[in-house]
């Protein structure tokens, strides 16, 4: 067995290598760049037989990715944060073209203020684009998800681009032991790309990205993306079962950790979910009946799985590493809308927002969330959204504002300039 210490970024590069990609359009951005650097080196040294093109922007990069995918080759690309947003127009377009490809997003908080560290506002801004979304929490899962993602994207019933998300720093630059599948086994699993009707060629021209006026054609095409995305729920199940048979690692649509017999559940996505698993272990040791749900698949949203897993619980604490300004946590909204009115749905779904811009979530904060959830369940009232932010952090913030000469009402420094 080939097991190595790999960063999340290098695990992603291995995913591309094992999937036998043909084409990588690239544009650098931290904390993603290590992915394209690694693949570039492999192409350069002849380890990989693929073509890489550097583009002038993420918008061009995604356009090239879609254009190449439309010619019937296997396409892989990667970006992060501002880059994802800069290419966003093309994300909607590519899903509309119905071209299969895999895009990695290394999550990083959005500006302003600018940061390098992660949260999920970038990837969740792409939520409605038509890209399917897989969310990873370990370096192993990144590699494996890329193999699964190519199968899902290229499945003739689906044919939609797939985004695989990993968190900056906490995965991108963090090394963990990763099992690298045997190249032949990976190739056998992913299979050769059969483009079918995806064949944009000079000698067989087709018109891509046509204009339609009148809502009936538009509604049809757009709704077909919705139907295909929903269909991906069952197709994903088939592919994940095959993956498990081939490699022994299971990737359910929602990863349920110690959820059996749990009265309470945490629900979160991404790398911080492993911290929640740790908290679950400690809380269980202290007598709590608590578990964790970690949706891997966010688009399509696994409603049915969530309803089954949530049924009969007293409450769920949704921990959002994102913020929809003027509303709150995005996952919280998704979860409540999925569970509302369903038989056995938990009466309380508490919303917490934490880990913005890479802010840590301490073990004690998970314990406190569990206590707050229990309290809310006893009262039977949905508590207001809670930001994980301490008095000490605000004091530190006030010091920064003093240095920045920001005028504060409660008597901070007030200088004329």
């Amino acid at each position: 067995m080939n097991k190595q210490m790999l960063t999340g970024n290098v695990a992603a590069a291995w995913g591309a290598r094992l999937a036998g990609i043909d084409y990588l359009p690239a544009f650098p951005i931290s904390p993603q760049t290590e992915i394209i650097e690694t693949v570039a080196e492999w192409i350069d040294t002849g380890v990989m037989d693929a073509t890489m093109t550097t583009l002038d922007s993420e918008h061009s990069m995604l356009t090239a990715a879609g254009g190449a995918a439309a010619t019937g080759v296997r396409v892989f690309t990667a970006t992060s944060s501002q880059g994802l947003l800069y290419g966003m127009e093309m994300m909607y377009a590519l899903a509309g073209w119905r071209v299969p490809l895999v895009l990695i997003n290394v999550s990083r908080g959005l500006g302003a203020p600018i940061t390098l560290e992660p949260d999920h506002n970038d990837v969740l801004a792409a939520r409605d684009s038509g890209f399917l979304q897989l969310h990873c929490s370990t370096c192993q899962e990144i590699l494996d998800s890329i193999l699964i993602a190519f199968r899902l994207a290229e499945d003739k019933r689906i044919r939609l681009p797939v985004l695989v998300n990993l968190d900056g720093f906490y995965l991108s630059y963090t090394r963990e032991p990763v099992i690298i599948p045997e190249p032949k086994e990976a190739r056998d699993f992913v299979g050769p790309y059969d483009p079918g009707t995806v064949r944009f060629k000079a000698d067989a021209p087709i018109s891509e990205a046509v204009a339609v006026l009148g809502g009936e054609a538009y509604s049809y095409f757009r709704y077909e993306v919705q139907v295909a995305a929903r269909k991906a729920l069952e197709v994903y199940e088939e592919i994940a079962a095959e993956f498990q048979a081939a490699f022994g690692r299971s990737y359910d649509k929602i990863d349920a950790y110690r959820a059996d017999g749990a009265e309470y559940l945490f629900l979160m996505i991404g790398s911080f979910a492993t911290k929640a698993m740790d908290a679950v272990d400690q809380l269980r040791a202290a007598g709590w009946k608590i578990g964790l749900l970690r949706p891997r698949l966010l688009r399509p949203f696994p409603d049915r799985d969530l309803r089954i897993l949530a049924a009969g619980r007293k409450g769920i604490a949704v921990v959002d590493q994102n913020l929809s300004f003027g509303r709150g946590g995005i996952l919280h909204t998704e979860v409540t809308s999925s569970l509302y009115g369903q038989p056995g749905a938990p009466p309380v779904i508490a919303g917490f927002v934490g880990g913005l811009g890479g802010r840590d979530i301490a073990a004690e904060e998970f314990y406190q969330m569990a206590e707050d959830l229990k309290k809310a369940c006893r009262k039977g009232v949905q508590p207001p959204m809670r930001l994980l932010y301490t008095a000490g952090e605000l004091t530190a913030m006030r010091k920064l504002q003093t240095i920045a000469h920001a005028v504060r009402p409660e008597g901070g420094r007030d200088e004329k300039h």
């Binding site: 906490y170 911290k275 994980l388 605000l394």
Partner: protein, 309 residues
């Protein structure tokens, strides 16, 4: 779980230290997680890297808030609050300092709750150009001895695995230093113990607050006024400083000040003056000065000289 934090400056190889130690743990049969933590590229600025290792899969993630072992590449980092060396220390924590002063002095100075080990393992490399790049292997070697579960041959194997991209001579130099550090610390082998998780039965409640409403004049991320970066003493990132030899300086004054990437050299009365509060010690001025009027002085020595003046 072993929780180890390496503190150093950008360029001193703390990421390499975490990779060597991480791979050594991995080769010794442990589950491992290692990572560096830094902001934008900052040679000379404080950075840290960390390693977690235990026999079972690791679920903890991110910055180590309660370290079992802290290794400090160079003692000048200790007084820098931004380095955060003492963050989250507990009675069970072990602090290893590369220092010319002894452990008892540091124990008293820092009021450190755990055990302190102080030894100068870097002294021979400190004043040698390029010597800082070996600090990583030295710290990894020391850490491997202190945890006491990594045999010598595995440490060397890990160095080879992590340094595949450099010449054989450099690998040999790294191995020699790591081994010397390993052997120097062997008398403390096993002093670092695996720590448990944070108990949920009884825990310190987080002091959550409601973040107040501030008017946009306050809550927009603007820095008002100019030259606030002057408040940031980036001179603390420096281990070596350029010193102008006034007898050799021809008073051209524009070469060094023009090339200084931090605008830390200004011309006054026809002569260059170095602003040591902001000079990061990159030594570009020394290289550029055509009259060879700028020399390199070790920061420790310069500070000692300043004190005695």
């Amino acid at each position: 779980m072993y929780r180890i934090r390496f503190h150093g400056r950008g360029g001193q190889g703390m990421k390499m230290a975490s990779h060597i130690l991480g791979t050594a743990f991995f080769l010794a049969g442990f589950e491992v997680q290692d990572a560096p933590r830094f902001g934008a590229e900052r040679r000379g600025a404080p950075i840290f890297a960390y390693v977690r290792a235990q026999r079972d899969p690791i679920k903890e993630r991110g910055i180590i808030s309660h370290p079992g072992l802290i290794l400090v590449a160079d003692e000048s980092l200790v007084p820098m609050p931004a380095a955060g060396i003492l963050d989250g220390v507990e009675k069970s924590s072990v602090l290893f300092l590369n220092s010319r002063e002894d452990a008892a002095t540091w124990k008293k100075r820092l009021n450190f709750p755990g055990k302190i080990l102080a030894m100068d393992l870097i002294g021979a490399d400190l004043n040698v150009p390029g010597g800082q790049r070996f600090f990583g292997a030295i710290c990894a070697g020391a850490a491997a001895a202190l945890v006491g579960v990594i045999p010598e041959d595995i440490l060397l194997q890990a160095i080879e695995a992590e340094l595949t991209h450099v010449e054989a001579e450099v690998i040999r130099e790294n191995k020699t230093r790591a081994l010397a550090a390993f052997q120097a610390m062997m008398e403390y082998s096993g002093i670092v113990k695996e720590g448990g998780g944070r108990q949920a039965a009884k825990f310190k409640k987080p002091e959550w607050i409601e973040v107040p409403f501030d008017e946009a004049g306050v809550s927009a991320p603007a820095i008002h006024g100019s030259r606030t970066s002057e408040l940031m003493k980036t001179g603390a990132w420096r281990l070596r400083r350029p010193v102008i030899n006034t007898s050799r300086c021809k008073g051209c004054w524009w070469v060094c000040s023009t090339f200084c990437p931090d605008s830390a050299i200004v011309a006054k009365d026809g002569r260059p003056h170095i602003d040591y509060d902001h000079c990061k010690g990159c030594m570009i001025c020394m290289v550029q000065c055509s009259a060879h009027a700028i020399t390199l002085v070790n920061e420790y020595e310069a500070e000692e000289a300043d004190k005695s003046e």
